[in-house]
C-alpha cells in the first residue's frame, strides 16, 4: 500500500506556497440548514447555519439552546431557550451536525446481567 501524500507536506526543499486550506467539514453544504452544535463546556444549541469561517466560528439564526438539568448539570433536557442570531466560537465547538443527523440509541455500555 503506497503511502498517500498529505496535502500539507511540501515537496522538496523549495519554500513553495502551501496549498489552499480546505476544511474537511464543508459547511457550505449546511448553509441554511438546521444544525446541531455541541460546545466544549457542555452547551448544545440548534440553529439555522447562516455563516462560518475557516476557524469554524459559526453564525446561527433562530438559535435555541438546550437547557441542562439544574440538579445534574451533565444531563441535557429537551427544554430550550431562544437565543436568536448568535455567533458560536470555533475554538469552543466540538461537534456540528445536521439536526436530523443524530438519533439516540440504546446505551451500548450497560453490561448484560447474565454472563
Amino acid at each position: 500500500m503506497s503511502k498517500e501524500k498529505t496535502p500539507y507536506k511540501s515537496s522538496g526543499t523549495s519554500a513553495s506556497a502551501p496549498p489552499k486550506k480546505e476544511s474537511i467539514l464543508e459547511l457550505n453544504r449546511l448553509v441554511d440548514a438546521k444544525v446541531h452544535v455541541k460546545c466544549l463546556g457542555g452547551r448544545e444549541v440548534v440553529g439555522t447555519l447562516k455563516g462560518y469561517d475557516e476557524l469554524v466560528n459559526l453564525v446561527l439564526d433562530d438559535t435555541e439552546e438546550y437547557l441542562r438539568d439544574p440538579d445534574d448539570l451533565s444531563k441535557i433536557t429537551e427544554t430550550t431557550r431562544k437565543l436568536g442570531l448568535v455567533v458560536v466560537r470555533g475554538t469552543q465547538v466540538s461537534l456540528v451536525s445536521p439536526q436530523d443527523g443524530m438519533e439516540e440509541i440504546a446505551n451500548p455500555f450497560i453490561a448484560a446481567d447474565q454472563d
Binding site: V31, Y52, D53, V59, L67, L83, V87, R89
Partner: protein
C-alpha cells in the same frame, strides 16, 4: 455562490450595542461591546455578570467600569441580546 455571514463581521457590527455572552461553564455576561481582537477577547462597558454560586442560584453582579473579558472561554455571543432574565425564568439574586 452562497452568500454567508462572516461571524467576526457580525461581532464587528455589534460594536456600540448590547451583547450577551455565554461562557464555557454556566457564566453569562451582558454588556455594551466596545471592541474585540482576533482572539475575541472583548472590551465591555456596563457589564453585568450572571453566574451560579455554590448553591446553584444565579448571582447577578454589576461590574464597575470597562472590563476586558478574556476570550478563552467565550462560547456564544448574542448581539443585541438582553441576557438570561428575559428568556429564562431562573431564580437570581442581585449583588451590588
Amino acid at each position: 455562490m452562497v452568500l454567508t455571514i462572516l461571524p467576526l463581521e457580525l461581532i464587528d457590527k455589534a460594536i456600540g450595542s448590547k451583547i450577551w455572552i455565554l461562557m464555557r461553564g454556566q457564566t453569562e455576561i451582558v454588556g455594551t461591546l466596545r471592541g474585540f481582537d482576533d482572539y475575541v477577547n472583548l472590551v465591555l462597558d456596563d457589564a453585568v455578570e450572571y453566574s451560579p454560586d455554590v448553591h446553584g442560584e444565579i448571582c447577578k453582579t454589576k461590574l464597575e467600569s470597562e472590563i476586558l473579558l478574556n476570550g478563552n472561554h467565550v462560547t456564544i455571543l448574542i448581539p443585541g441580546g438582553d441576557g438570561p432574565e428575559d428568556s429564562m425564568a431562573t431564580n437570581f439574586k442581585a449583588v451590588e
